[in-house]
Subunit: 437 residues, 2 copies
Amino acid sequence: MKRTPISQVAGHIGKEVKVAGFAQTIRDQGSIKFIILRDISGVVQAVVLKDSAEAMEVAGRLSTESVIEITGKVKSEKQAPGGFEISAEKISILSLADPELPIPVIEKGQEETDQSIRLDWRWIDLRKPERTLIFKVWTLMEQAFREYWTKNGYIEIHSPKFMSTPSESGAELFEVKYFERKAYLAQSPQFYKQMGMAAGFEKVFEVGPVFRANPSFTSRHDTEFTGYDVEISFVESHQDPMNEEQKAIRYAIEKIKEGYGEEILKYYGRKLVVPSLPFPQITMKEAKEVLGRLGVPSEKDGDLSPEEERKLSEYVKEKEGHEFVFITEYPIDVRPFYHMRLETDPSLTKSFDLLWDGLEITTGAQREHRYDVLIKQAKEKKVKLEPIQFYLNFFKYGCPPHGGFGLGPSRMLMKVFNVANVREVTYLYRGIKRLAP
Amino acid sequence: MKRTPISQVAGHIGKEVKVAGFAQTIRDQGSIKFIILRDISGVVQAVVLKDSAEAMEVAGRLSTESVIEITGKVKSEKQAPGGFEISAEKISILSLADPELPIPVIEKGQEETDQSIRLDWRWIDLRKPERTLIFKVWTLMEQAFREYWTKNGYIEIHSPKFMSTPSESGAELFEVKYFERKAYLAQSPQFYKQMGMAAGFEKVFEVGPVFRANPSFTSRHDTEFTGYDVEISFVESHQDPMNEEQKAIRYAIEKIKEGYGEEILKYYGRKLVVPSLPFPQITMKEAKEVLGRLGVPSEKDGDLSPEEERKLSEYVKEKEGHEFVFITEYPIDVRPFYHMRLETDPSLTKSFDLLWDGLEITTGAQREHRYDVLIKQAKEKKVKLEPIQFYLNFFKYGCPPHGGFGLGPSRMLMKVFNVANVREVTYLYRGIKRLAP
């Protein structure tokens, strides 16, 4: 007999089904036992009656969260959740759970267990339907981005994570013992997605881990995370990658809302809004002026603090009714040497960040593809040329003008679900003090 | 004026177009110059005539592989490739290539440049249409696998690459300086995809890098490569993941053939065959008997050498007309402790490898999900329990029976293109001696 997903049991009233999943709740009323069984698709109530002696005996040995298989008839039952239940004729134990669960799966009427304890037992924490939902949405979101990219002629790359030199800067770098020498873990696919442009690939995307030895304990940081990276050729300015990005994000949010909008509202109270195009834009200079008028203290010239990001997003939301805003034209001192500079003001770069509801989810720019200019800018920034000569060479034998961005899917999900901590939307968080499970 | 992809220029005869790409060939016939321009979609001939003085002047300064933009009218021209050409009115140089190209893009009438030199200048090597094709096919193949998985209810995971202990064995492990301690790079997502089963995710897939400090220099090995990993719950035996795998592979090959079958045949002489279902199967015991009869020397009991894999595939192809064959029931001494054992013969595991035309592309198994049995098997294999207690815990609080496999996309592509070396189908190969570019 084939297993029926629990979400489809309702269609089998009067018929026999086989279901399997976790015994979420076991209620013993002496001559009758109730089991709430949970699989990936939902929950169903099974009832075990005295006259099914064998099933009764097995049910008597069950512990909460054991994995079982139940065979029985689906019957209408007014008092059961959903108006039906399975009358268990046979129960098989596939995996008996230790009766002492370290954390509860259903935390009714109590404060949720402390996050660090939940992370210790992450796989039990993930059994909660509202947590599983996060990864169903991640799956859909990633597929939506990929649909956008593959339909629009992008080539997918998987660039190496081992490098002989840092990809961004020497700071926050992980060092690997690599046979008789040292290697470093890529802090982003930046150099290698640009290599794709020099290879004539024209449009590339990459999804993969990026590694940052970030010593901070904030709710937004981790030592490794998944990055979405995009680079496109024959751009005229940073407006081209911005345009590609906003279209892809809109497409993804549309798909998420379609697929899981109701569940996100139900479990997280978040009403997803499909953003209109184009997203609002503001230059860094204008942003600082606005923030000054609002009386928000500026911590650093040419860059925004988390507090400034929040206030600016609030301002844009109020003024334009939009959750997104691009900040453009960052000054050269807060951007890496490879960002192209504005023709009209070479103290500014053709760069952008994207804020979603106060959180930075993207950094992007048009890159400098002219070999001589790139070298000049590297020297100005006191970047040593020799270790990055392999990168500089990409621009020596013909390379189209290009630009791109990096997008953090876990940051996107923080905003999709309105959760404040990246650890909740990461399958298994890694931080300075956390390498387990 | 909007840029026209070169593949669409033929539809604009009599009209003006703007095209951009690499100047693949420049032929100077004095009063007339010809440029073969290449973009991601194809090549087109542009002609520069004396009466376009400005364009003529720019064309005179061009070096091969420079990136340029050409504006001009599309004209029928019998002698041009494809029967038309662009009469260049304006040429802009976007990026002037150094006249001394380290390796040629078009290697007509000569032996191809040595592989290790081509890898030094990988981005120029990748400009060759037959190499770009590999990554167009990779993009399509990966999207096809994902379509199969997402349509069938799989959840995508991105598991951490930092671990506190080895995921597979202590051998071939990369060590990372992790703040004040050590971490190790995941040799596979094995433990964490199994965690997804304990979390009740039921079906998961992951695409990501795996790291192996493999000291060998073979044409099949590298120190990091992309892995496709799958794990599914409520399996009855290893036949369930095998069945899922063969369906996904068939789907992907169908899509590849549809999209690029002709180009693969043209450039690589490989006629793709969509495999029929089910794939042939043979137990390891039967395989050894067959190979014995064929007179192929056995290097190791219960495992196949590359030579044996080739001969066995030849045998199956001749006998059953099939390029694929599953080898099942590997003995316990060549499989890790977490592979489930056969009820009928506990010296054998519920495991499989998949060969495609003589090359191993997969290893898979049903896993042991019973905590007590798992511990017993680990002890028998002399695996230290303490470092993997976090993994063993996954099975302590309820875990469905499950199984899965790992699939190497670069090995798939070696067979799609009939190339003997994994370096040709990897965006940027990493080996003991190679960390650059």
